[in-house]
Symmetry: C2
Subunit: 254 residues, 2 copies
């Protein structure tokens, strides 16, 4: 886990300013603060480590709570992108598709070509944001906003979902194991995932290889509960065998 970075007064002031202006140049900061350019540069470096700011040539821009961006700079991006592309390739024109929250499902949205004739239903803010600019018809479920994942859950989400049917659902997961099936650490998210599976013709779980073998709080489906797993690396023998037996298609993204 990344440790919290503590900011001094000047750095906090800088961050305030950058968040207000959206952008700042080092030259401007030098007039505002009686310190060397080098110190300002070090401050910005620190703010960048904290994830609040991104340095540009000669300055910095605010990224703040931009989840999307943070994810991109996060771990395993390349792998997730590959998984996303592979999963997106499953979608046929005209289909209605459910995408839930998570960094990997976001990559699916990102891989959809602009203007594609599919209808996407999602409970994830970042997925919706991504699709908003792509001329792809998008419907959000509504619901209570979860801070941790920026997804919508709870009774409103359930009610909306219950009235819909999808050709295909793509779900993220925190753990995949033979005994515990697919699991998630949040009960309410798990509820949505279960419902999505029920309302969908075919369900694919997207999961990078680090998820194999992990079990967390709530199991939202058994292995046999979904038709397909899209991942980046083949899992160990036991899991692979279990998938084979239970008729779960394993898609390894190349």
């Amino acid at each position: 886990m990344r440790q919290t970075i503590v900011l001094n007064a000047r750095q906090q002031q800088m961050l305030d300013r950058i968040s207000q202006e959206g952008e700042v140049r080092i030259a401007d900061l030098r007039e505002l603060f009686p310190v060397t350019e080098m110190t300002i540069r070090r401050d910005l470096e620190k703010l960048e480590e904290a994830g609040s700011v991104r340095r540009t040539f000669g300055g910095a821009i605010f990224v703040g709570q931009d989840v999307a961006l943070k994810e991109r700079t996060g771990l395993l991006t390349a792998e997730k992108a590959r998984i996303g592309r592979q999963a997106a390739a499953l979608i046929r024109p005209g289909e209605s598709v459910f995408l839930d929250g998570g960094t990997t499902t976001l990559q699916i949205a990102r891989s959809l070509p602009a203007g594609m004739s599919v209808t996407v239903v999602t409970n994830a803010l970042n997925v919706a944001s991504e699709l908003a600019g792509k001329r792809i018809p998008t419907i959000m479920t509504g619901g209570t906003l979860l801070e941790s994942t920026h997804s919508l859950v709870g009774p409103i989400a359930v009610q909306t979902l219950a009235g819909m049917a999808f050709d295909r659902a793509f779900l993220g997961t925190t753990g995949v194991s033979v005994e515990h099936g697919f699991s998630n650490s949040n009960l309410y998210e798990a509820e949505i995932k279960q419902l999505a599976i029920r309302q969908s013709g075919e369900t694919a779980v997207v999961a990078d290889h680090t998820k194999f073998g992990a079990k967390v709080l709530v199991s939202f489906a058994e292995l046999s509960g979904v038709q397909r797993i899209v991942t980046d690396e083949a899992p160990e023998e036991a899991l692979r065998q279990a998938c084979l037996e239970k008729g779960v298609q394993l898609d390894i993204a190349d």
Copy 2:
């Protein structure tokens, strides 16, 4: 209006890659494309003009549809921020509040102190994103995503809203005039605004001074239909008089 920037095949490919990876270095691009560093740099410059990319030292990062950033660099930000603060000050702890889409209502969300004990209901993606990091309970209506404003509308939004009641609603508007009342250019958004007024104890319209006198397609309420207008400058005499007569409180942000 900013004119559309046309990209050639290579630039489109670059953008695809940057949007997928989130970030790219010029050195990498040079291996991918058989052109000079200078040409790549010019390509990135063009992508930056188009607003899709931000150049960093030695590369570029994807910004894509980052609404937040665009708004900040947009017009009248300072005025809208003032309006937002003034409007946010109306909210009492414990209340349930509806915020609709728009750059000014976003400023209300931005002005709410983190952790405040209010429940916010919104149909706007950017408002929800803003609140997600602030430990403020947030509910989204769900609905069909409108590209133009990143807000949710249509039957799902209507149905969800119909089952709720607010202490307070804050609505953006495109036009305010004596005869046409409050108007909006999108029929579906107007429908949501009307419903929000109906479900809310008190409604405030937030509008900067440039909206005064303007009339656009759909009127979603008469002047007397709301209790309050929060703005940055007093409107002309006729409108001010009409507000006075119809019991609409005029709040000028300082």
